[in-house]
């Protein structure tokens, strides 16, 4: 999986800024996507490209349980969020609906990745290759359950 980085040097990016409450009434995924990250970066939907990754600090996706958050990012084309830690509900929502991959990295790796870097993520090897900088990082492996849900393609396909 190869994509370019959109980096937000912030901790605690909450689901209210990923998709503000007023849009939770919207059922159409494409319409939701036009408001992705509106609370933090209103230009996001116009600059994001299919296959991009978001990189951010700790506790990504904290706050409300709205599954609209990973849906909005995924519909925009985001394939993975790479962060130093995640809030649990966002993490599970991302995996359960097979919307995007939540990938945990350490602080050092977080510092090394810059905005617009091209990365290749290899989840079999737990490895992130920074093609722009020609560096290789280790990602935190998924736990057994998460790896299985991801491999199955979401919660409902898991153990079917």
């Amino acid at each position: 999986m190869i994509g370019n980085v959109i980096k937000y040097e912030r901790d605690n990016i909450d689901t209210d800024v990923i998709i503000p409450g007023t849009y939770l009434k919207i059922h159409d995924y494409n319409e939701l996507a036009t408001h992705a990250m509106e609370g933090l970066d209103p230009d996001f939907p116009s600059k994001v490209k299919d296959g991009d990754f978001i990189v951010a600090g700790k506790n990504f996706g904290c706050g409300s349980s709205r599954e609209h958050a990973p849906i909005a990012l995924s519909t925009c084309g985001i394939k993975a969020v790479i962060a130093t830690s995640f809030a649990r509900i966002f993490y599970r929502n991302s995996v359960d609906g097979a919307f995007l991959l939540p990938i945990e990295i350490d602080d050092e790796t977080y510092q090394k990745i810059s905005n617009s870097d091209k990365l290749e993520i290899n989840i079999e090897k737990n490895e992130i290759k920074n093609i722009t900088k020609n560096e290789i990082y280790t990602m935190k492996p998924f736990s057994e359950i998460i790896a299985k849900i991801i491999a199955a393609g979401g919660l409902f396909k898991y153990k079917k």
Binding site: N12, V17, G21, T22, K25, N59, E67, R92
Partner: protein
């Protein structure tokens, strides 16, 4: 082997357990609201599945509802559609719905306990992060996403990784038990352990300072467990818990037998081991006011806005986040909290809109008038709370003081209905999240207790409510 309360609840709900695998956990109660359920019902239909235990599933409408006159048609068409969708889903699948005009309608986490749906020792889920509120009754209650809502509807179970345990020991006695509330206790805890301090853990609040609290105060504490990143928060049940749940609509018929059983089992064993522990002395706690854009950015009311450097303590990311927060909040370091003027006051939300919250706020407001520069509303947590408050004449006290007295719902906590801040407006709010734009795009939220919100409404700026009582 000793077990914590959480471990006892977890172990008694395991359906499938294998080493290095997730556990399949039985869910005793599933609460539903209009925002996180539509796609779950669509999923059931698409896969020709039914609701497995409609008798354990209860729905209400809270996020979208207008808090003004409900006999009028709804102006917002998309809200109206979402509400009608839940009505149809509940009808099609045979689920009990406390609908928009039902006397038991209210915020889902307020009506769960009020109707006796919440029970000690049970597992409770809802597609809403503040489900943790119901942990106050000694339940494992936690928020889930829509895929998990669908899974619960279809199977009444969930695949879960076992969380770790985290003891929060609260000792001492509050110096002023009216002015210093459970909201101040939980804000102080989050200030110290951080917004991710509880990640991967279930918090158990223990100690004399917790057992001293009423059930409604305990709910405020457990409600905000999620703001510390934790999976859930809970408090061992006691006589107060059992009294509260007696004779409610859903209270089981064999309640006395259940209570006998709970009294024997529902506590952490002596010397049980927690993965983490944190102690707080409540005697040192002052009224709290948040100044930033997450619930750990909090100050004593007698304090000042910190400099980013003081807040960040050499952590670059923290310093940067404080700078951004101050910019968003339009605040300058070293400003005394009590000099910050406010435009709006919101007394409501699943954190602080129960009867005791309204009673305490009314005590402050009685005979006074809201500052002419401030717009203030009270939104009871449920229609039942509203009715009880009106029986006590609280509505009159608030209205005489120029507060608006509204119908129940989530309202200005998250800005899904017309109750929102305008860009730049500053609000003293009894809700749970001060995130950017949470109460409306560009709105600035300060989290406080109901008595602090009430006193600030009168003064037009933050005040130390201890001087008012």
């Amino acid at each position: 082997m000793t077990e914590t309360l959480f471990e006892k609840i977890w172990n008694s709900h395991i359906v499938v357990e294998k080493e290095n695998e997730p556990s399949l956990i039985y869910i005793d109660r599933h609460l539903i609201h209009e925002v996180t359920s539509p796609q779950a019902f669509d999923g059931l239909r698409a896969n020709h599945r039914d609701v497995r235990r409609r008798d354990l599933t209860v729905a209400t409408i809270d996020h979208n509802v207008p808090t003004t006159d409900r006999s009028l048609p709804m102006i917002d068409e998309t809200s109206s559609t979402q509400i009608k969708t839940l009505e149809k889903n509940c009808k099609d699948f045979g689920i009990k719905l406390f609908g928009i005009n039902d006397p038991n309608q209210g915020i889902v986490h307020v009506i769960g306990p009020q109707l006796g749906i919440t029970l000690p020792g049970s597992t409770i889920v809802c597609g809403d992060s503040h489900t943790s509120t119901q942990g106050a009754f000694g339940a494992f209650a936690f928020g889930i996403g829509t895929s998990e809502v669908e899974h619960t509807l279809a199977t009444q179970t969930l695949w879960l990784e076992k969380p770790k345990t985290f003891e929060i020991l609260a000792t001492g006695k509050r110096k002023n038990s009216f002015a210093i509330t459970s909201k101040d206790i939980i804000l102080s805890i989050i200030k110290q352990i951080g917004t991710d301090g509880g990640t991967g853990h279930v918090l158990e609040y223990r100690g004399d300072a917790i057992t001293d609290l009423s059930m409604e105060q305990r709910m405020t504490i457990c409600n905000m467990s999620i703001e510390a990143g934790s999976r859930a928060g809970l408090i061992a049940p006691d006589e107060k818990t059992y009294d509260y749940l007696n004779n409610r609509m859903y209270t089981p018929k064999n309640y006395d037998d259940l209570v006998d059983d709970w009294k024997k089992n529902l506590m952490s064993d002596a010397n049980s081991k927690f993965d983490k522990s944190f102690t707080i002395d409540v005697e040192k706690i002052e009224p709290q006011v948040s100044w930033g854009t997450n619930p750990a950015m909090v100050s004593d009311v007698t304090g000042k806005i910190p400099t980013p450097e003081d807040f960040g303590q050499n952590n670059e990311i923290q310093i940067e986040s404080a700078k951004k927060a101050l910019l968003y909040m339009d605040l300058k370091p070293d400003t005394p909290i009590i000099e910050i003027p406010i435009d709006r006051v919101f007394i409501g939300s699943c954190t602080n809109a129960r009867l005791e919250d309204l009673k305490d706020a009314a005590e402050i407001v009685k005979g006074k008038t809201v500052n002419s520069d401030v717009g203030a509303i009270v939104v009871p947590g449920s229609q039942m709370v509203k009715l009880e408050a009106e029986k006590l004449g609280l509505d009159k006290i608030f209205k005489d003081a120029n507060f608006e007295w509204r119908e129940s719902g989530c309202s200005m906590c998250l800005g899904m209905n017309p109750d929102i801040l305008k860009p730049g407006e500053r609000c003293a709010s009894t809700s749970n999240r001060n995130f950017e734009g949470r109460q409306g795009s560009g709105g600035r939220t300060h989290l406080v207790s109901p008595v602090m919100a009430a006193a600030s409404a009168i003064a037009g700026h933050f005040v130390d409510v201890r001087e008012w009582c």
